[in-house]
């Protein structure tokens, strides 16, 4: 499926627990995917991702050497960047939000079933956003937080339609259900969800650039 060919998806599994890595690897391989590597920390993950060019990195946010957001940012800086599916505990909210704005496009809780995980990997690989209701709630909250701050030229805002769709995702509706309820195509719904995330990621990048310029490290 990578680049339109029939080659199996190549996945890098990053988690500091060997038991978990092995379990997930087995699940992915038995579904016909290729696990091109596993990593137990962030530095190793970036190294292996640079060398093996996976389609998708399955990323746990609790790593011993660096924060999840840092790993996500470094992975996103690889060219071409792998898609990142964050797989983490439901409790690490700010971490999750930070990793998403740093470049991840999907999020699943670790209690997701093997089938949900496979589906998530495939959808992220295809460029679709994988949102849990929890992530939609976080993204809504993030836009509200930004709205409460003194606004700059890059402060992103949700359109009414995007807000409506994010709220429906947060209330547990699937994309097909949302498409049916709002009389939209599935593709349109996915694009709207994707946009809510892209705007945050763009804003995040702009913030980083501005910070770099302010600190005089923009060369």
């Amino acid at each position: 499926m990578s680049a339109g060919t029939d080659l199996p998806l190549r996945v890098l599994v990053v988690d500091d627990h060997p038991i978990w890595r092995d379990g997930v690897t087995r699940d992915l391989e038995s579904a016909g995917l290729t696990v091109c590597g596993t990593a137990g920390d962030g530095a190793q993950a970036v190294r292996i991702a640079t060398a093996t060019r996976p389609d998708v990195v399955l990323l746990d946010l609790q790593l011993p050497d660096m924060s999840g957001v840092e790993v996500a940012a470094r992975l996103s800086a690889i060219d071409p960047a792998p898609r990142i599916l964050v797989l983490s505990a439901s409790g690490e909210r700010q971490d999750v939000l930070d990793a998403m704005t740093a470049g991840a496009t999907g999020y699943l809780v670790k209690s997701a079933s093997a089938a949900e995980l496979l589906d998530g990997v495939r959808r992220v690989a295809a460029g679709d956003p994988v949102f849990t209701p929890g992530l939609a709630g976080l993204v809504l909250g993030e836009y509200r937080r930004l709205a409460g701050e003194p606004s700059g030229p890059t402060t992103p805002q949700l359109t009414d339609r995007e807000t409506e769709i994010l709220r429906l995702v947060a209330k547990g509706l699937t994309y097909p259900q949302i498409a049916e309820r709002l009389v939209l195509s599935l593709r349109t719904v996915q694009n709207h969800v994707q946009n809510t995330l892209s705007k945050l990621q763009l804003h995040n990048k702009a913030q980083l650039v501005r910070y770099a310029i302010e600190q005089g490290i923009d060369e």
């Binding site: 978990w20 709630g137 909250g141 709220r167 547990g172």
Partner: protein
């Protein structure tokens, strides 16, 4: 507090030395020098005794300080018998001089501004009686004594309160640190195993499948438990509403909230959470066996909105009679009642086959 007692002891000894210097310098002009030496001896003995007794908490009794103040006042009045009336009229210092203030300070440390104030009034009264009239000099002394007693006592009260606040804060901090340590440990061990058991056994039938499902449920519950922020009101009596809603998540309930705190007055938050629990209970009872529910918490700055949606059987709006028979209307009215009590609103919408959606909204003032 022990430092304060040491400071009072140092003051007593220094003031005693000063009183001794005065007696040595002036004894040849006393009417009764022997009585002067005797008074100084008694003051020295009491200084030693009272410092010794103040070493321990059990020694610092109300009676000790009453006696302390009485002795200080007595020493001031003894001046009348020791000194000549001419010298007294010319403003000679009292026999104990500043030593009498030691008793006032001790009372202030032991009893706060009230204790200090009472002691200051007693010693000041003795000063005025000794002089026979309220001269400018006596007046200054009285003001200084009252000042020492009241302000000293007040500062002690403040220090005590601060000490208690610091102790409470460090207890809370220790509890939070311990909680975080436990959460890390649980995250690193138990949760991983539970999640793995749940994954490996998912889809398998029979006992294994059941075990896997149980492990999955426990994992979700445990995750919610260790991830939940502490549910305790802060100094302003406000609480993070997330701390009340997140524990409600489970196998069939997903709770979504912002990354930031959603602060509400504790009682408002409690009612809101109770309304959410009722709505969720309703899902379990009437939504159908497999109904799932999603709770969405949104902070709209001027108001807080909680939505509870389920994918159960739902009910038609014109079937209120049916709903009443099923007991659903009772729940709806209870939810609306709770929201009205806290100045909020509740809207309940349902479509047959598409579940029910309850929107709870409360304004911030």
């Amino acid at each position: 507090m022990e430092q304060l007692w040491r400071a009072v002891a140092v003051f007593r000894v220094a003031a005693l030395a000063y009183a001794a210097v005065l007696v040595v310098a002036n004894h040849d002009r006393y009417a009764r020098p022997a009585l002067g030496w005797l008074t100084l001896g008694l003051m020295a003995a009491w200084t030693v005794a009272v410092i010794a007794l103040c070493q321990t908490t059990s020694g610092r009794s109300r009676w000790l300080f009453a006696l302390d103040v009485a002795i200080a006042a007595g020493a001031v009045l003894a001046t009348l018998a020791v000194e000549t009336s001419g010298r007294i009229d010319h403003g000679a210092p009292t026999l104990p001089a500043a030593w009498a203030a030691g008793a006032v300070l001790a009372s202030a440390v032991a009893g706060g501004w009230r204790g200090g104030g009472v002691a200051a009034v007693v010693v000041a009264a003795a000063d005025i009686v000794e002089r026979g009239q309220l001269t400018e000099q006596t007046f200054n002394g009285v003001v200084l004594l009252l000042f020492a007693g009241l302000v000293g006592g007040y500062l002690v009260d403040l220090a005590l309160r601060a000490e208690r606040a610091v102790a409470a804060a460090s207890r809370r901090e220790a509890a939070v640190a311990e909680r975080e340590r436990l959460a890390r440990q649980i995250h690193d061990s138990v949760l991983q195993v539970l999640a793995l058991v749940s994954r490996r056994g998912a889809g398998a039938g029979g006992e294994l499948g059941e075990l896997a499902q149980l492990a999955g449920e426990q994992e979700v519950a445990l995750r919610a438990l260790v991830a939940a922020p502490p549910a305790e009101p802060d100094d302003q009596g406000e609480i993070d509403l997330r701390s009340l809603l997140e524990p409600l998540s489970g196998d069939r309930v997903v709770v979504s909230s912002p990354a930031q705190e959603v602060r509400l007055p504790a009682d408002v938050a409690a009612e809101l959470a109770a309304a959410v629990r009722e709505a969720l209970g309703n899902v379990t009872h009437h939504g159908g066996h497999d109904a799932r529910a999603w709770v969405l918490l949104e902070d709209e700055t001027d108001s807080v909105v909680v939505t509870v949606r389920d994918d159960g059987v739902g009910f038609a709006g014109d079937r209120l009679a049916q709903a009443r028979r099923d007991g659903r209307l009772g729940v709806a009215q209870s939810i609306i009642g709770r929201m009205t009590d806290i100045g909020g609103t509740a809207t309940i919408e349902s479509t047959p086959g598409e579940g029910t959606e309850v929107e709870l909204r409360v304004r911030r003032d």
